[in-house]
């Protein structure tokens, strides 16, 4: 099967007001098969949101040095004509943002905001618009609830309902690729689980290809097929979800997993035991000029890590890591 989306050596940098260049994405490559769900794991500043928007060529005004390619069904979106790109955005590739309360228009009813997406992509018959909107909302809400939601303003909805309206907008035109940037980060744990369930159902019923971006590896467990771990704008680990979640190889991925409080670890069981942490931070100012970007924080650093950057190495057929530990001499 051919890849539906292929990203090759994508680079994006931001210029800050002081003129300093910050490389948000520094040579990202991956490809997605149709129907595949890829989880992108990354913490603040790792470039995960830049990745989400870059795939649709939505760049911040201060983005500079954009290079590489994003091939969607063979067409390079970074080179495509603007009007052509507009036909793809929201129709064939949809993007769901993190904060549903900001992403929705505050003074328009939810139903109308879903209709707008359809209208923007050429549906202009009123009854067809009505019908499709009802259909889409019906997929995400109970039938008796859907009517009321369509007539509600965003502030009248709960966080989970707002997120579902955003999902409705994203799937209204029947896209083939869905990019979700921390879609559950601002939700309650129980609502978060419900929303994850929605994504799972949609994936099955619509055969969606998905990129699911999160900072919480625990959300990917029973959902993603493959996982890409992002650190300082680089792919540090990429492989089958099971490989990465069960036996992470990169020191960063391992440290990240260990820092999550285990559920049955109470303070009294483990009196004074501390959570393992990763020392330091990934602020741009603390990134090394040369060598592996994780080197200053890495518990397993070696001499070579300072001198040059490691490339991606295969540790198995489905699992690649960017670390000298796994490079054969």
């Amino acid at each position: 099967m051919g890849a539906i989306l292929e990203v090759r050596d994508l680079r994006v940098a931001y210029r800050s007001r002081g003129g300093v260049i910050f490389r948000a994405l520094d040579g990202i490559s991956f490809s997605l098969e149709p129907g595949e769900v890829m989880g992108v794991l990354g913490e603040s500043g790792s470039g995960k949101s830049t990745l989400a928007t870059s795939l649709l060529r939505l760049f911040h005004a201060n983005a500079v040095d954009i290079s590489g390619s994003v091939l969607f069904q063979g067409q390079d979106l970074l080179q495509a004509e603007a009007d052509e790109l507009q036909k793809i955005r929201g129709k064939l590739i949809s993007l769901i943002f993190q904060e549903p309360s900001v992403a929705l228009h505050p003074t328009l009813r939810a139903g109308r905001q879903v209709r707008q997406v359809l209208a923007a992509h050429g549906m202009n018959c009123r009854s067809a618009l009505e019908k499709r909107t009802r259909e889409v909302l019906g997929r995400l809400f109970f039938a008796e609830e859907a009517e009321r939601i369509a007539r509600s303003y965003p502030h009248q909805l709960s966080g989970g309902q707002r997120q579902r309206v955003l999902i409705a907008q994203a799937i209204a035109c029947g896209p083939s690729v869905l990019i979700a940037d921390e879609p559950t980060a601002s939700l309650d744990p129980t609502t978060q689980m419900e929303t994850l369930g929605v994504f799972r159902t949609l994936r099955k019923s619509m055969g969606l290809t998905m990129i699911f971006i999160t900072h919480n590896p625990a959300l990917l467990g029973d959902f993603a097929d493959r996982v890409l771990v992002l650190y300082a704008g680089r792919v540090v680990e990429l492989g089958a979800a099971q490989d990465i979640l069960v036996s992470p190889k990169h020191p960063y991925t391992r440290a990240l997993f260990q820092s999550i409080a285990p559920l049955f670890d109470t303070r009294r069981d483990s009196s004074k035991k501390k959570l393992p942490t990763i020392s330091g931070d990934s602020l741009e100012s603390s990134l090394p000029v040369a060598g592996c970007p994780f080197e200053p924080r890495c518990p397993e650093r070696m001499e070579i890590c300072k001198s040059r950057e490691p490339g991606l190495v295969n540790v198995s057929e489905t699992h690649t890591v960017s670390c000298f530990r796994y490079e054969s001499p």
């Binding site: 129907g35 595949e36 769900v37 913490e43 603040s44 500043g45 966080g159 309650d188 744990p189 129980t190 609502t191 978060q192 689980m193 900072h215 919480n216 590896p217 625990a218 959300l219 467990g221 029973d222 097929d225 979800a241 099971q242 979640l245 069960v246 440290a255 990240l256 997993f257 820092s259 999550i260 409080a261 285990p262 559920l263 049955f264 670890d265 109470t266 303070r267 009294r268 069981d269 004074k272 501390k274 959570l275 393992p276 942490t277 990763i278 931070d281 602020l283």
Partner: protein, 269 residues
């Protein structure tokens, strides 16, 4: 050990004004009682809208309860005059989810830290600066950060700064309202460890408000689960985790995302 805080049958009602029809009444707290011993941590866990933040505001003397009593160091504080409440407020500090919103964006770290000192203390310039440096190192920030703006800090550093500012007045109770929720996993662990260190060295008392049952169990000596303005279950973390009694606790437990991985789940693709 004495109870530092004791809350008895706390009720808080808000009235919701509507354009048409009678005003609606919302009961945010419907009779909450608990006490916290000195130097320990009580975690309040519940979903959005269960009343946990209202409870925080009542305790911090920022909101007056409709009825019920709050004792702080054996003194009833909910009915005090505004002037007396102001004195109590110094001893009970709040830390919110997103500290970025509670800092003046044009102030430097030094200005943020010295404001509470200037408002209450009688420290002079040089003393104040050295106290600020001391506070910074107490929370694991480097003292040469004093000249930075809060927007130049990372999320974890900002939360450390918020803790340092709260500690400036040497409070007895620290209320952490979802203080870890907005942070990345690895940073959450760092801040959680910092909180435990500070509790060890300063004998601080915490009220940890969160929807994350795993983190609550990790940090707290006791957990109270809230739902619809009431405490539905309270006990030691291990008891709550291993023998949850109420439906809401079981739901919260089931919703904690876990890293354990069962192979059958990905088989379908």
């Amino acid at each position: 050990m004495h109870g530092l805080v004791r809350v008895e049958n706390l009720v808080k009602r808000f009235s919701k004004t509507r354009l048409a029809g009678p005003n609606q009444e919302v009961r945010a707290l419907a009779g909450v009682s608990f006490s916290i011993l000195r130097g320990t941590t009580l975690a309040i866990v519940g979903e959005s809208g269960c009343g946990k933040s209202t409870l925080a505001l009542c305790l911090a003397c920022l909101e007056r309860p409709t009825s019920g009593k709050i004792w702080f160091e054996e003194r009833e504080i909910s009915g005090l005059h505004e002037k007396d409440r102001r004195v109590i407020r110094r001893q009970i500090q709040l830390i919110f989810q997103d500290p970025a919103n509670s800092f003046n964006p044009r102030w430097t770290v030094l200005e943020i830290l010295t404001e509470p000192l200037a408002l209450t203390g009688n420290l002079r310039g040089e003393e104040m600066r050295s106290r600020a440096g001391g506070l910074l190192s107490q929370v694991g920030l480097s003292p040469d950060m004093q000249g930075k703006l809060s927007s130049e800090l990372s999320g974890g550093q900002r939360q450390r700064l918020a803790i340092a500012r709260a500690l400036a007045l040497e409070p007895k109770l620290l209320i952490l309202d979802e203080a870890l929720s907005a942070l990345d996993c690895s940073v959450q662990a760092q801040i959680a460890n910092l909180l435990m260190d500070l509790q060890g060295s300063l004998k601080m008392t915490y009220l940890f408000i969160s929807h994350d049952l795993a983190m609550a169990a990790y940090l707290a000596d006791e957990i109270a689960v809230m739902s619809h303005g009431q405490i539905v279950e309270q006990g030691a973390p291990e008891k709550i985790l291993k023998q949850p009694q109420s439906r809401i606790t079981r739901e919260l437990l089931a919703a904690v995302p876990r890293l354990d991985f069962s192979p059958h789940r990905t088989a379908e693709s």
